[in-house]
Symmetry: C2
Subunit: 230 residues, 2 copies
């Protein structure tokens, strides 16, 4: 087993696998298995099949609980933006999983170690292995470090981020009235600027500026959040 | 709350919800909410969002464990055949959930109670509610009654059923060698017939006939299973 991986999992995520074979399988690409048939290894594809569903539920549950007022259509769009090849490949790289996967020579030479589809599968296979080894809550704990903070920071949806978060924060104290007021727009059509203020139960709590009404509202919500959460 | 539903859930599935509001929400279609705005109800769409992912994981885990030798590609196809609108609508009907959903008048008159998409969403929403109310294992227990037996019976894949099942049954006793031998083919191209025998560690355990080599092998596996499981 790759000792760098074991060390990093322990240090970064406080993770120690009971069944290291499972972890090893998650980091074994089919191209490696094909080039070492005599070793009779298993590749990570079945773990990826399982991990895909584990991730889907973990993200769905997180979104369901975190955004109690957001309708299903928006949740589905947001989930699709999170659980997609591009995002998962990034997560895999951030965890430095790309350094530890075992590839065949052909795959290595053709740049497989940086291929988004391969990295995405690797990330899912790792989650599948973690789920089998330690259960669903361990997967959630891992995602709380790697994925969930990015969702809350609005990395996956310009629409969902600041405005939704602001609504979340404010409605903890019951029904709220939040409104955004466009107070000024200036400049020629191709570089027009908008200024917006956000009001909470009639009181101004933030203001922002942007190239569209939407962006100005986002900026105002971000400004309000910064002041509220300080 | 619909007392017939409560009674049937208890009698058929030994299920009693702690939070009956969740169950009620699962059985409330958006058309009903729209026609009764003064009641300030929630429809079942967010629960469906969650339940969709719960079902996906439960089925994935079941397939992963039940078919340890089946490659990822086939598992993915099988999962897609199970977790699809048509199948889920059937499950909803078998559970008689269609009798208990609250619809708006327009939806009712246009036949919504029999619409597959609506029934599919209802089934997923129910699973979402059950998951929130009683956790993942309760969902698995429910599916063990409603869905999993059909998977094992081969209702979702002609290819997966008999041959895979035979492999499952035989490998309980360790590594096995199963081979299918084409022993005869006859007839003109458009109505050709194939005869196959299946061998287990060199011993003939079944035979079958079909319009293609694949179908003949399936028939042979089914024949072997019948004799083995008698």
């Amino acid at each position: 087993m790759d000792h760098v991986l074991l060390k990093e999992l322990k240090e970064k995520f406080n993770l120690v696998f009971h069944d290291v074979d499972l972890l090893e399988q998650a980091f074994t690409h089919s191209s490696y298995v094909n080039e070492h048939r005599y070793l009779q290894l298993s590749d990570n594809e079945r773990l990826e099949f399982l991990g895909d569903a584990v991730l889907e539920l973990a993200v769905s549950k997180f979104l369901y609980r975190k955004y109690p007022q957001v309708p299903e259509g928006k949740l589905t769009k947001l989930r699709a933006a999170i659980v997609c090849e591009e995002s998962l490949a990034k997560f895999a790289k951030e965890c430095r999983f790309d350094q530890s996967i075992r590839l065949g020579k052909g795959e290595e030479h053709s740049g497989g170690r940086n291929r988004p589809a391969l990295l995405c599968d690797l990330f899912e296979a790792f989650l599948g292995a973690l789920y089998l080894d330690q259960g669903f809550e361990a997967v959630e704990t891992f995602l709380e470090k790697v994925v969930f903070p990015k969702i809350l920071a609005g990395a996956f949806s310009h629409e969902m981020d600041h405005k939704t978060r602001l609504q979340e924060v404010l409605q903890r104290s019951g029904d709220v009235l939040i409104d955004y007021r466009l107070i000024k727009e200036e400049g020629p059509a191709h570089e027009r600027q908008f200024w917006t203020q956000v009001y909470f139960n009639g009181e101004k709590i933030g203001e922002g500026q942007g190239k569209s009404k939407k962006l100005a509202e986002q900026a105002a919500a971000a400004n309000a959040l910064n002041q509220l959460l300080d």
